[in-house]
């Protein structure tokens, strides 16, 4: 009976058994397959997930309406379970007076964190929120925007994401 290594079960012939060419082929292919898996780890190590999209828009939002941002690319689906840092930003100059703007980051529709801006004197101060998301693969990251004031606003938005930790 062939022996096998303790971690990956690589097969090798025992000293008392006839060795056929298959023994070489089996071990070589097993090592080859493990190296391929290792290459996957190598690629992720040097290329942790990250994403950014900027200035998508505009999206028209009415004053007082906390609105999910729906522009192309503003929805990010978590590719691998882990801890991510997510940044969202959104803003524009409304058609009426405005005293506050807020952007929030959501995970599967649940608000996780956000940032308000005081826009006293109708001063555009674009809110930018950045924080952690502990996620599983398939979780959907979106953002929403709200402003206090009058009229409507055409907002331009962006989302950035980077993976800190892999838990899968």
């Amino acid at each position: 009976m062939p022996g096998q290594t303790p971690i990956y079960g690589l097969l090798y012939p025992c000293s008392d058994e006839p060795i056929t060419p298959a023994a070489f082929q089996i071990l070589a292919n097993q090592i080859d397959a493990k190296l391929l898996e290792l290459q996957g780890d190598y690629t992720l190590m040097l290329n942790r997930y990250n994403y950014d999209i900027e200035s998508v828009g505009p999206q028209n939002i009415a004053a007082g309406a906390d609105t999910v941002l729906t522009g192309a690319g503003l929805t990010y689906t978590i590719p691998m379970s882990g801890v991510y840092v997510v940044r969202a930003r959104s803003g524009g100059i409304p058609s009426g007076a405005f005293s506050m703007m807020r952007v929030r980051v959501r995970q599967n529709g649940v608000v996780r964190f956000g940032q308000t801006s005081n826009t006293e004197g109708n001063t555009l101060v674009t809110p930018v929120a950045i924080g952690p998301i502990v996620a599983v693969a398939g979780d959907v990251i979106t953002a929403q925007f709200l402003y206090a004031g009058a009229g409507t606003v055409n907002v331009f938005s962006g989302i950035d994401v980077k993976m800190l930790v892999r838990t899968a």
Binding site: F24, D32, N47, Y51, T77, V128, V161
Partner: protein
């Protein structure tokens, strides 16, 4: 003639090879594995336990012309030769093309302008003036210290790019910057959304 594995073309003896050729053929096999592992090790050396990162800081209050880069006087961290305050006190130089986290912070006094204005902090690529890291707060004109942090998780930067920070007070006059710091930290070689 030896056969080769599918993925890494590792050569191994097959049924047509003579047993007395085993030693050389098996050495070829182990050498091939060693080469693959050496390649992987070079990648490991780049990523753990130290990554390219630099953090510059200043706590000296200075008058800086509006929208001009802020100079630093302290290298808090530089793991990859990204800074040289003697040659350039303003910037962090990117050592290798990739995706970087860029974070910054300033503290300053009010513009003194009664009309509310925006204080913008942006980290920009000095060569192109492209920026993706910016944040702003409201200056109400009241006499408090204005603190502005900014960060972006992952920004594409090319080897040789130089990152600096500047404040835009909206007044076109010099601003008193009390303190600041700028950090550039490697995250990934490429943008990988999924």
């Amino acid at each position: 003639m030896p056969s080769n594995t599918v993925n890494f073309s590792l050569p191994y003896p097959n049924g047509s090879d003579a047993p007395c050729d085993f030693a050389q053929q098996w050495c070829d096999f182990t050498d091939a594995i060693n080469n693959v592992m050496a390649f992987f090790q070079a990648g490991i050396d780049r990523a753990i336990p130290v990554i390219p990162a630099a953090l510059l800081r200043t706590s000296i209050s200075r008058s800086i012309p509006d929208r001009n880069p802020i100079p630093f006087d302290e290298v808090v961290l530089d793991t990859a030769g990204m800074t040289d305050l003697d040659a350039d006190p303003y910037r962090i130089t990117i050592p290798r093309t990739g995706r970087y986290t860029v974070s910054a912070f300033i503290s300053k006094q009010t513009n003194g302008v009664l009309t509310p204005s925006e204080i913008g902090l942006r980290a920009e690529n000095e060569l192109t003036l492209d920026f993706h890291v910016n944040a702003s707060i409201l200056d109400l004109g009241v006499a408090v210290t204005y603190y502005v942090p900014a960060s972006t998780p992952a920004l594409s930067l090319v080897s040789g790019d130089r990152v600096q920070i500047a404040v835009n007070s909206g007044t076109f006059v010099s601003q008193t910057i009390d303190s600041a710091w700028l950090a550039v930290i490697w995250h990934s070689d490429t943008e990988v959304p999924a």
